[in-house]
């Protein structure tokens, strides 16, 4: 029912928590199924690399894993690299069952919010 990748991230999520010092913060959620993710990003001086990321999440197993997969995917990556991941985002979660599909939307939104960084700069 769950791919190994989802289980691995869900049971041992990476980068959970908050940053004392961050540049960007955003939250997103799916009110219908009550999934929520709060993200904090620390950017490099030139603003072209995500130096660090922390997040807090609430939701179903797959959405919790999605946040973790996303975080480990963009951490220490340049915005260009992140744009590359954004393009093939449906592959990042591995195989999904129908009821897990809504997490693709969450993942896409996480990328979009990250890449439209300016909107969310504090």
């Amino acid at each position: 029912m769950y791919s190994d990748k989802i289980i691995a991230h869900f049971t041992a999520p990476r980068n959970v928590g908050s940053l004392d010092d961050f540049d960007v913060e955003f939250e997103l959620g799916n009110p219908a199924c009550d999934d929520r993710v709060q993200v904090q990003l620390k950017l490099s001086k030139d603003g072209k690399t995500v130096e660090d990321i922390r997040y807090k999440a609430y939701g179903c197993a797959t959405s919790l894993a999605t946040a973790s997969i996303f975080s480990s995917c963009i951490k220490e990556k340049s915005l260009d690299e992140i744009r590359g991941f954004r393009e093939k985002y449906p592959e990042l979660l591995g195989e999904l069952e129908p009821k897990q599909m809504h997490c693709l939307d969450i993942l896409k939104e996480l990328f979009d919010k990250t890449l439209n960084l300016n909107q969310h700069v504090l």
Binding site: Y2, F10, V16, D34, K56, A57, Y58, A61
Partner: protein, 381 residues
């Protein structure tokens, strides 16, 4: 580790040891040669033990079925079929197990009966219940002894007296009550009582239907005359004899079992507090073996899956039977109790059994603590 004893219990070691012997004593209890007859005698011994357990003075009022679902269907449909010329109004709670609820619904949607489903609070408000029974001229009242999702106990004694006063047939689904609540069908004014062996430490395959008056219903299964024609079909010898072992076990240890449940619950709660894990109990007046509990920091599904994947610990969200239904459907019990969607999504059911060890409870709490440390940081509301 297994914390889903409300779904089905592990089988007693005594039964496992004897399983092969029971299965080898395979003869058909309706056969006329000696072995067939001795199998029949053993089944009747179980009948007597069940009668003792539930306070029925005549073992002949105990009928063996394949399980509580069949027992419930038999009571509900059988009463209608027997008295189909009457104008029936069935009253039940909106939190019954589907084998009661869907069966009553089926009769109602087919236009055979009228039906009223009362929320648990209304059922426990005896004045209101009394009013409803009188107003609807109820012919059949079905109230479970203990709810399978929340562990809530219903005031069967008072309701039984009321049903008797109104001359209304009183059915009690005691599936989650047996071994947790002392039952005396005669004192409780119960007309029909039902339960399943596999929820009380026996294997799946046998259930009980007690009838105060065996003529009060039309049988559901017709055939070779087994169970004095009240439930035909070759008897499931193994499951019935195994249920007998479980029933004798309960007769012997009922108090100890309940002390154990209380110890389990107390220890679990105290450990949660010790680790500062936030939680809410959905029902305060529950049996000690079933906890409907929510942790504000994680959805119930996710908690169940985390404990299963990471710690090999089995708990449940809602009841097992609910999991065959569409996802929105299995929230009726808590919904009927007034909980919000969000609270319901957080809820898990943890149910203890006689095999539950304190050290397993400790591991369960450590598992939850692990989840809390990983996911407890979201500012939950």
């Amino acid at each position: 580790m297994y914390f889903d004893n409300a779904a089905t219990t592990p089988v007693l070691a005594e039964i496992l040891e004897e399983a092969e012997a029971y299965l080898l004593g395979f003869a058909n209890p309706s056969s006329k040669y000696n072995i067939g007859q001795s199998v029949k005698d053993k089944i009747n011994q179980v009948r007597a033990d069940v009668a003792l357990l539930i306070g029925a003075s005549n073992p002949e009022n105990i009928i063996f079925t394949s399980g509580a679902t069949e027992s419930n269907n038999t009571a509900i449909k059988g009463f209608y079929e027997k008295w189909s010329e009457l104008n029936h109004h069935y009253i039940t709670t909106s939190v019954e197990h589907p084998s009661v609820l869907k069966t009553i619904e089926n009769l109602a949607t087919r236009g055979k009966i009228k039906a009223t489903y009362l929320p648990p609070a209304t059922v426990c408000d005896l004045e209101e219940l009394n009013f409803q029974i009188a107003k609807k001229k109820a012919t059949f009242l079905s109230v479970m002894m203990v709810n399978n999702e929340t562990g809530q106990k219903f005031p069967i004694q008072e309701i039984g007296e009321m049903a008797a006063q109104h001359n209304c047939f009183f059915h009690v689904d005691a599936t989650q009550g047996i071994s947790k609540v002392k039952v005396n069908v005669e004192d409780l004014n119960i007309d029909a009582l039902t339960f399943s062996g596999h929820k009380i430490f026996a294997p799946k395959g046998a259930g009980v239907l007690y009838l105060k008056d065996t003529l009060s219903i039309e049988p559901l299964l017709h055939g070779g005359g087994q169970e004095r024609g009240l439930r035909c079909g070759t008897e499931n010898v193994f499951a019935i004899l195994a249920m007998g072992v479980a029933v004798r076990y309960i007769l012997k240890y009922e108090d100890k079992i309940n002390q154990h449940y209380k110890a389990c619950k107390d220890y679990f709660i105290s450990m949660l507090n010790q680790y500062n894990i936030p939680f809410h109990l959905n029902e305060k007046d529950a049996v000690n073996s079933i906890l409907s509990i929510r942790f504000p920091f994680i959805k119930g599904d996710a908690l169940m899956e985390f404990l299963d994947f990471k710690h090999n610990i089995m708990i449940s969200t809602g009841s097992a039977c609910g999991s065959n239904k569409k996802s929105n459907d299995n929230k009726t019990v808590l919904g009927a109790m007034g909980f919000s969607e969000s609270e319901i999504r957080k809820t898990v059911r943890i149910s203890f059994g006689v095999h539950t060890k304190m050290k397993d409870i400790k591991l369960l709490v450590l598992g939850i603590k692990n989840v809390f440390s990983l996911y407890g940081q979201y500012e939950y509301s």
